[in-house]
Amino acid sequence: MRVSPIRRFFRWLYRNRSISLTPEGTRFVLLAAAIGLAAINTGNNLLYLLLAMMLSLIVVSGALSEQCLRRLYIQRRLPEHIFAGFPGTAYFSIANRKSRLPSFSIRILDVIDEQPIDRGVHVLHLAPESSALRSYPLLVARRGRFRIDGIKVLTRFPFSLFVKGLALSLPSEAIAYPPIKPLPDDIYDQIEGLGQDNPVPKRGPGVDLYNLRLYHPGDDSRAIHWRTTAKTSLLIIRETQAEDQHHITLAFPTALPAASGTSGVSAAGMEQSFETAVELTASLAAHFQEQGFAIRAIVGDQEVPGATGEEQLFRILRVLALCQPIPAPQADAGLGVFKSLLAQTPPHEMVLLILPWEDARLEACTAGVETVFRAHEVEATHAR
């Protein structure tokens, strides 16, 4: 069907717009309809005048709410690190780019899978050419890739009769890490005191000088090396050497058993065990990172080479966030890669093996490994 240019223009002008009635608006419209009927029935021009007043309020309401939504510049900032099940803080930066007119009563909703989700973000008044920052708690239920498609900006301004909406595409993507939980006592007892005394000169907390380098934004100002700064006229930062260094490998095979479900464990139970194993691996990584260990991780067929520090922890967490059980067709190959990576572990390096479920093939990997954690045992301990 051919669409007239005027209709096309209005469609373009009001693209992505939505409008709905509030309860007050519904009553208002019904009342206007009743007045209209009465005016037609009686021919009383004063009733027509009242009807005109009500219609003009509707028109004014539409025009003002449209003005509210025009030329808003909105950005979203997700937290740098998101842990599944733990609230993080996300931000909306809202700028009113109109030169003269303010915006009132703006609500911003995230849109995920076409479903608007109210985060309680509300800006009551935004002056012309000004901006506001609003934070909101963001809770991601499951680890993995997390995507927000867009936003919906709503306003009930000026008379609370209509809710006018503006849908905008504002995609954001983040990775939700598995949650880091306190280690159970029995596990803690097993890993306490583990490690090899094999210090390696590394940057870290300590007293001895490790390196001097240029100041970067975000550096601790207490670490400025004033003498060198004065000499060179450049802001120089002093880095210290870590006092000692230990190495550990966290190995987490992800290949599914050959006949999953045959051992009497349901698919849901296996998934639960897998998640427990992922969380345990993440918690162990965090524990050893705190202890200053150089951590190497083998997750399924992927390897995170050994290193220290927070960056390394997040590298491991990222791999853990995205890891999935390797299904049967590729399970053997994946397990083969895992074994080969495990075999490459230096001889004096401590290895912790975390097994997601009971499987003879996985049990075969435990040969020569000092410490093995089994997810179903951890679950049982937690259950007790």
Binding site: G43, R77, S105, G120, L124
Partner: protein, 729 residues
Amino acid sequence: MRVEGSFRVSSILLVAAAFMGLTLAAPIPLPLLITALGSIAITLAHAAGWRLGGVAGRLSQVSTRVWNVLMVLAFVVCVTDLIWLSKDLLLAGTNFLIVLMINKLFNLHQRKDFLYLYAISFLMLLATAALTVEAWYALVFIFYLLAAIWTLLLYHLKNEDEENRKAGSAGVSIPPITLSSRFFWTTNAVAFLALILTLAIFFVTPRAGAGFFQKGRGQPIRMSGFSQKVDLGVIGNVKLDPTVVMRVDFPDLTGPGEGRVYLQGAVYDHYTGRSWVNTLTRRRAVGQIYTGSFLVSRDQRAWADSKVVRQEVLIEALDAPVLFGVPVVQRVRGTFPMLQADDIGGLHLPYPPSSRFQYTVFSIPNELEPGDKRATSFLYPPRITGRFLQLPPLSPRVSDLSRAVAKNAATPYEKALAIKWHLLGNYRYSLDVGRKASESPVEDFLFDRKTGYCEHYATAMVLMLRSLDIPARLVTGFMAGEWNDFGHYYTVRQQDAHAWVEVYFPRSGWIIFDPTPSLIASPRNSPMEVVARLLDSFRVKWTRLVVQYSFRDQQAVLHQLRERSQPVRSRAAEWVATAMKVVRNWRVWVLTHVRDWDWTVLAGWVAAASMLWITVLRWARRRRLRLLGAVSRFTPDQQAATRFYARMLGLLERRGLSKPPTLAPLEYARSVAAQWTDAAGLVRVLTDLYCRGRFSCAPLSADDLSLADRLLDDLGRLLNTDREQAAGA
């Protein structure tokens, strides 16, 4: 001012506006009126923050049970009023509405209480619209609209503020909303815009109502002198009554006419000695040309003369179903379903109108033909002589007087003039004619008292003419007197009621003779009178443009628009035709010369034209987008960051440290640090702030911007110190 206080004040003002209208439109019992006014005053003062010794507080603490009992009692009284007292649903309902309003005014606690109050106020305005059509409704309406805009806006802001506080908005401390002067004026501008829009919608909305007359609720004006039988002297009773009966506008005239303007109402042929009677009582329905347009006379000759006098009459509700107009009425246009005419020239509605209404009259006044003026005698048709030469039993003194007055007159016209001048010259106009009943009031007037008013003069002249065998009749109506220079119309009052004479001439028809002395009052120009005329003209405009606005008016406006736009449309069509002709000529020229052209040059021209066209299009697009604000490369934060960074660059330039375009900000900061050690830290921090505000997603906070300002001040001071040291050295 805070939102909360303003919101309560505007809510109460809204209901006060509606109540004001209801008070003016309906007869409200005095105790209820005083209670309602007191409630509004107390709650308004309380909302405005005035201390009233806790009166409002105590009343608002009255328990819900007590209010419920009061409401039930009020409902019972309302039903009683409806069934036994006023027997009017609207009046009983309005009284109950007022009681509800009082209840709500003292119980405004939750959001729904305010919504109920608004609903009550709207119902009151609705009831006012049903009860009145007066012009003061315009003021009430405008005030209500203004209050409604304020109230709805503040209602919205208050609710949003409350919800915002409940939600906590993620720990952000929320300052209370205050109303600035800018908000005040913007809201008033919105109200003004809404008013303009309301009027536009009102005039554009198609009228489909079937009401011929607005239903009036007031008492009609009592009229005398227009019934079938009129006793001599009844007009004198209303000659001191200033009640406005009608307004008559002559759209084709720019000012008041020089002569007297007679508005004929009723015509009488038979005089009994004490009363005038219209014996031609048979009425016929006047045919319609089209709906609402009645053709009274079928005299095509008169229309050809094109001396039509158009009158637009806005008449109040009268108890007599008579239509008035300048004689002789040819055509009438109005919203009444039917019009009747009697055989003597009177126009009647089928029933008295219950409210003010408007109609248009087209008349062609009779003019005396020269032949009628000169003719010494006439042969009158029997239908005239049979009715208009009738005389009651009179003493011979009347005919003697007539003959004596007309002894020197040769023609009927001269005789009529002679009698007229005799009455004008020898009798005194007075409303004081005594109460004593007389057997023959005309003879008393002519021979004994020699004072009287229009009826006496006119009756005397009719009888004297008839005694000379000249057909004459008495006409009652109004003589338009008071000209309103604001509205350009005549205001006709009861006191303008008049009686005059019409004399029959065979060629000319009925010709007006008025033997009553002129009593033209000098124009009243005191400030009060001027204001009264101004208000009256506003009242008339309100009635014509709003109350009486109809589908026919809409058609007329459309017709006028079409007529007035005709020259524009013609000119546009001519312009298009000329343009098309030029294009056609070019096409022909190109087709005839294209064979001789050098194709390379032609291709070059086409390419150049295309390039030019594309450039223009791009420029126009960019400009349009810039005008629409779509192309604004920087956010306000980025602009702020750029501003302070540019200020820093300016200061450094004064120190001789210009920024080469090839250096990035951080590189430039390092370069400055190498050359001006003292400023290194300041420049570095300012550069960091600039990079964050300009290139990152995180906006600069107010603290950041104030820090940048302080650092720039420090840099300026450092620059001054450096210069002073350099000067000292």
